[in-house]
Amino acid sequence: MLDWLKQPWPWYVAGPLIGLTVPLLLLLGNKSFGISSSLRHICAACMPSKIPFFQYDWKKEVWNLFFVGGVLLGGIIAGQLLADPQPVKVSAELSTGLAGYGITDYSSMVPKDIFSWETLFTARGFIMMVVGGFLVGFGTRYAGGCTSGHAIMGLSDLQLPSLIATCCFMAGGFITTWLILPWILKL
């Protein structure tokens, strides 16, 4: 049983369970699933700096911070108790493609060749962690949601703005992966 749980879970098991987060939060307290708003609450709580966008009572939304705290704990539990000892299995096309950029370490789901304290101050590491992270935070709030808030919760609720947002997430990702990322990975 534990051995089975330690393997990566197939999409048809994990996907529907992820989808159940939507009714779970609605039934627990009429909460709409969405993670990126936690970043706004952190700003409102820690450095509102008289910016009108951060002038609201974040304590009324504290459930969201408990939820992301849980996601962090879930990461610890899965990493400590349910970790897969095998390297990450990827498609042959990807491993061939990445080998050309010197990315060969599959021991972690976050590739150590790119994302590590040692690479943080290289051009490639800085762009991929600091610039990339900035775009995630800026873009999700500009769009009013992320993969969870728009792509899962919004689409579940048949919201047209969420469908448009999801198409734009994918478009931005495809353009970046095919046209921009090769230049960054070469650095």
Binding site: G15, G29, G70, V71, G74, M153, P161, G173, T176
Partner: protein, 176 residues
């Protein structure tokens, strides 16, 4: 009065109404009964829900930069299967909740906030897409990655907080 919190201090730049549907207490005039005047301990259930979701993110390998690359390079169906089946289950659940007018455990009518259309959905969506492909992570997986021991992701997360903060700072100058 969604824009009520935004009135005030800048007189030169037009104030753009808050289009963020995710912050209920900002959006609704009649504040919902939940989350108000409840002890902090009542939020433990959301912590548990987060743990459930965090474990799923890790075991589905949604937090893997490699899986996100495979998705955008069209080399693996996995991520499409995860997101697609999650949306299918979510849709069915919301439909059932609405059909049977289900109430939350606190007795409140369940009413997801409608999303408001604005240009930010397009521009912000494209910008997030760029960041998603580079970092291989959306906000949820950032928290889960840190949990699994990829401590350097703390930098990416702090940078995402900074991005949100800068958006808040300059949003009145951006097209919405």
């Amino acid at each position: 009065m969604p824009s009520s919190i935004n009135t005030g201090n800048t007189s030169f730049v037009k104030q753009i109404p808050d289009t963020d549907s995710e912050i209920r207490s900002v959006n609704t005039v009649i504040t919902s009964s939940s989350s108000l005047d409840k002890p902090l301990a009542s939020n433990i259930k959301y912590l548990l829900a987060g743990i459930f979701f965090g474990i799923l993110l890790v075991k589905a390998e949604v937090i893997s930069w490699f899986r996100i690359q495979e998705m955008f390079r069209l080399e693996n169906f996995h991520m499409y299967g995860v997101i697609g089946s999650a949306v299918a289950v979510g849709m069915l659940s919301v439909w059932l909740i609405k059909k049977f007018r289900a109430r939350s455990v606190e007795g409140e009518a369940i009413q997801p906030e409608p999303r408001r259309m604005n240009k930010g959905v397009v521009y912000g969506g494209l910008i997030f897409g760029v960041g998603w492909a580079i970092t291989g992570a959306c906000p949820g997986p950032l928290f889960a990655q840190i949990g699994t021991g990829a401590t350097v992701t703390i930098v990416t997360l702090l940078s995402a907080v900074a991005g949100t903060w800068v958006y808040g700072l300059i949003r009145n100058r951006l097209p919405h």
